[in-house]
């Protein structure tokens, strides 16, 4: 019973922090929308080209805006000693990572479900494809969150070269991009197998992320 109480308390704390830093989250969304503007200016307002490459633009920008949230995961909690205190109060690191994953997915990726259709309308993408983008993003966004969490925990004590965290995120999210772009471009009979492959990647990442992140946090706490 006590563990449930502490989990709820942790959820409440994460919610408080996210609500206080609401403008930081909105900044990430602003980055996404502004990126689409930049793409439009650099390619030129040609509707036929956008119908072909618009999906790629949207997925690229989702990945890049995921990069901005790397530091949000463990950096602050690690620096002020919160992670260690939470562990001493009886929660395992794996559980903390899992709660962090859920809250970060909720607060950082759910807002995109409102702004992706807007971006699609700005790029003249067909209605059927908008549903498919939302479906793939529903499956793909937890993968993106867990990749950002892995990269954030790998670079906990890294103050010099934080750019390498973004590179790790880009490297690991290549399969997500391949399969989610493949689903949208595929003929109707090939959608289902690719979708199940994407779900397989999701299950793999969700199952290994807590262990990897917990191992990294333990190493960082021992060496700090």
């Amino acid at each position: 019973m006590q563990i449930i109480n502490s989990i709820t308390a942790l959820f409440y704390k994460e919610y408080k922090i996210a609500y206080k830093n609401l403008y930081d989250i909105l900044t990430i969304i602003l980055f996404f929308l502004l990126g689409i503007f930049i793409f439009v200016f650099s390619i030129g307002p040609n509707e036929e080209i956008f119908q072909q490459i618009g999906i790629g633009i949207i997925w690229t920008l989702l990945l890049l805006s995921n990069n901005l949230s790397i530091k949000r995961f463990y950096q602050n909690d690690f620096k002020d000693g919160n992670l260690h205190l939470l562990h001493m109060s009886g929660m395992s690191y794996e559980l903390i990572v899992l709660v962090k994953l859920i809250t970060n997915w909720f607060f950082l990726q759910i807002p995109f479900f409102i702004f992706i259709p807007i971006a699609c309308l700005m790029l003249n993408i067909q209605n059927d494809n908008i549903y498919l983008i939302l479906l793939t993003f529903l499956i793909g966004s937890p993968i993106l969150t867990s990749i950002a969490s892995i990269s954030g925990s790998l670079n906990l004590l890294n103050n010099r070269n934080i750019e390498i965290a973004s590179i790790i995120v880009m490297l690991l999210s290549i399969p997500v991009i391949i399969f989610s772009f493949g689903i949208i471009k595929a003929p109707p009979e090939l959608i289902k197998p690719q979708l199940s492959f994407l779900i397989g990647i999701l299950l793999l990442f969700v199952s290994i992320t807590p262990w990897i992140c917990a191992a990294c946090i333990k190493i960082a706490i021992r060496n700090s």
Binding site: L154, N158, I164, A215, C216
Partner: protein, 232 residues
């Protein structure tokens, strides 16, 4: 016997013992292999003389993957049993693997221009090997991001274990997707789909690549061990 591959002191003894034969083997196999590859082996009936690129391309690709496999095994051992020798091996071997991957990509693109008509195709095999190269570079950089060398090594080992998922993808990419890159010719040992006259120089060049890779690796590991002893 196994302690040679885990214990640094015994490894140095083993290295001193094995270093001269390795130099000998690599020089001999290099000369014989080049003679076989450039003069004795026949031209391909379709590809002409460009088939001789294979004698460098294929062994370097094998060694690039083998190096990553060794790094994966050593990082698992080092993290599980807390032996620092695995970290030493990782940091010594990563640049060698990166070099072999670069040689593989470079010769592959030189081979692709006359045969396929392009330097580069976005094909499953080529893309996954290019990603392997990026992974090697990240492994080299990631170790040096923190001032604390202990932390950097452990983080790098975890990253290596995550990235080892790329190895089966490279191996089976030619079977899973329809690629421009041809499937493996030497997968079946009993009846390979390659002629013996071409198999022989390939075999000798593979021996050369393995021995030169092992030689550089042993020298680098030895230097790394001695440097760490100096710090302590």
């Amino acid at each position: 016997m196994i302690k040679i591959f885990i214990n640094p002191g015994k490894f140095i003894n083993f290295a001193n013992f094995v270093i001269k034969p390795l130099i000998f083997i690599s020089i001999i196999s290099f000369i014989i292999g080049l003679i076989f590859a450039l003069y004795v082996s026949p031209d391909d009936y379709q590809q002409g003389s460009t088939v001789r690129i294979m004698y460098i391309h294929v062994p370097s690709a094998w060694l690039a993957m083998l190096t990553f496999l060794i790094m994966t095994i050593y990082s698992i051992i080092a993290l599980a049993f807390k032996t620092p020798f695995g970290f030493i091996v990782n940091s010594a071997v990563a640049p060698i693997g990166a070099t072999f991957t670069f040689i593989c990509l470079f010769t592959g693109s030189l081979w692709g221009k006359p045969m396929w008509g392009t330097w580069w195709v976005w094909d499953a095999r080529l893309t996954s090997v290019a990603l392997l190269f990026v992974m090697y570079l990240i492994i080299i950089f990631l170790k040096k991001t923190t001032n604390n060398i202990n932390l950097g090594e452990k983080i790098t080992s975890i990253f290596i274990i995550i990235c080892s998922i790329n190895l089966p993808i490279i191996k089976f990419s030619v079977d899973w997707w329809n690629t421009l890159h041809q499937p493996a010719s030497i997968s079946k040992i009993s009846s390979p789909s390659i002629d013996p006259s071409m198999m022989k120089p390939l075999f000798i060049m593979t021996i050369f690549f393995i021995s030169i890779g092992l030689l550089i690796a042993i020298i680098r590991i030895k230097a790394e061990i001695l440097e760490r002893k100096k710090i302590i």
